[in-house]
């Protein structure tokens, strides 16, 4: 079943709702959050143009996956912001009070800047092989096979390097969020 019959996206949602719930539950491990995300997905689906969607099941699954990533990113930024507020009580209003727009914007920029710095320094500190594989794949956009050829290692060697890189960077990002 690959959505070959070109249904509209709302009809597709109806067809795949149960599966989407299963995906979101597997992804979050929390029924309440899964239902919440499903609701949000439904709202987004309804905002789409009504026309038919090719490969509709994969389309909906990807939407759900992207929403999950957006949530994770949002959570991370919030932690970074909370930490900044705790650090800089003198510069900002008390924690818990939303900053005004201009301020918010400056702070978002600051957080983005910090995130870039965190990533850059974490990448620089990766073990050599992992760093090269990561830079070629993620920053230069080479495929795993191309990275393997460039570095003269096997594809599974590239995958191992990438796993090491992900593990390091994940720790760097979560330390940054935690302060």
């Amino acid at each position: 079943m690959s959505g070959g019959e070109e249904l509209g996206v709302e009809a597709l949602y109806g067809l795949h709702q149960a599966e989407l719930r299963r995906l979101l539950l597997a992804r979050t491990g929390d029924l309440g959050e899964a239902e919440d995300l499903l609701q949000e997905l439904w709202v987004r689906v309804r905002q789409r143009p009504a026309g038919p969607v090719a490969n509709g099941r994969a389309y909906l699954f990807r939407m759900a996956q992207n929403m999950m990533v957006d949530r994770l990113r949002e959570r991370q930024r919030r932690m970074a912001r909370d930490r900044r507020w705790a650090d800089q009580e003198t510069d900002f209003a008390a924690p818990g009070i939303e900053p005004v727009d201009g301020h918010d914007n400056a702070e978002q920029q600051m957080i983005a800047r910090e995130e870039v710095a965190t990533l850059t320094s974490a990448i620089a500190n990766l073990p050599g092989g992992a760093r090269r594989a990561f830079e070629l794949h993620k920053l230069e956009g080479l495929s795993h096979a191309e990275v393997a050829a460039r570095l003269g290692i096997s594809k599974s060697g590239v995958e191992k390097h990438m796993a090491v890189a992900m593990k390091y960077l994940r720790r760097a990002l979560s330390d940054w969020g935690k302060g």
Binding site: L23, T28, V69, Q76, V116, A117, E140, E159, M166
Partner: protein, 321 residues
Amino acid sequence: MTAQSEIDEGLIEQALHWQTALESDDADWDGYMSWLEADTRHREAFDAVALVSAAVDEHKDAVRALVEARAGAQDGTERRRPGRKMWLWGGGAAAALALVAAVPMLRAPEMAVDYAADAGASRSLALAGGTHVMLSPQSRIVVHGKDATRIEMASGEAYFSVRHDPARSLTVQVGSYRITDIGTRFSVNISDGGFRVAVSEGAVGVSSEGADGEVRVTAGHQLMARQGDALALSPVAPEEIGSWRQGRLSYSNAPLSLVAADISRYSGKRIIVDPALEASHFSGTLVIGDGSRLLGDLAGVMDLSVRAENGGVRLGRAGGR
């Protein structure tokens, strides 16, 4: 989300596998869901991969530029690809410097103390929190706050020794650039042609108000901005940094405008650099003495002409106009 727990590399590898597999049109979503459901650690691994990928993708250009700049500085070569420059931020670096003098006056009613060194003598300052500053002749800084955690560079050159204290970080504002540091030694030089930050111990971060990202400058490196250009990172011998404190001016591939600005401060002469020399750089050491021979020595070493002009002097190509 158990953000701090370690994740097994093998699981991350599996997650990466799924991440790639799901991009394909006939992806095995059932297999993916079964994998997720098999072990709660699987979704943590997938979260980790998804989060890092999203963060990197979002900031890809900035991260790539910084990674390349750093790599170039570390092997002492510029790992440039054709058509790509190592400059980090768009132009206007120096344009923003012009504002520096006005800034201190506009700030909130916070304690600000102005320190300046006259011509002919450097000045040593001990600030709150164990920060030591050596001001080069004809230089000025503004220190903000009673704990001296924010310093504004107004003119000339200063060498900072900052005591390591995790609870406190020092910020040096240079125009629209901000240098952040926790325990290190570095020198900052500002002139109307641009600025230079050179680190002899530890590391500092440099960020710009107008741009994303922070450049980390580690010991043995300098970050320079010239009028119209963005920032460039390059290696420098640590013993050269702040060598004016020992009576020498040492440079590694420094723009001539920056060297001229230094000499101008020491000699009290206004120096105009001929536009034809705009791209010239100087590497070497000059002995300061009483400052009067610096210009002649530089001109001799670089084979330049010196002519009097409008109460100052003009540096040009020897044999030129």
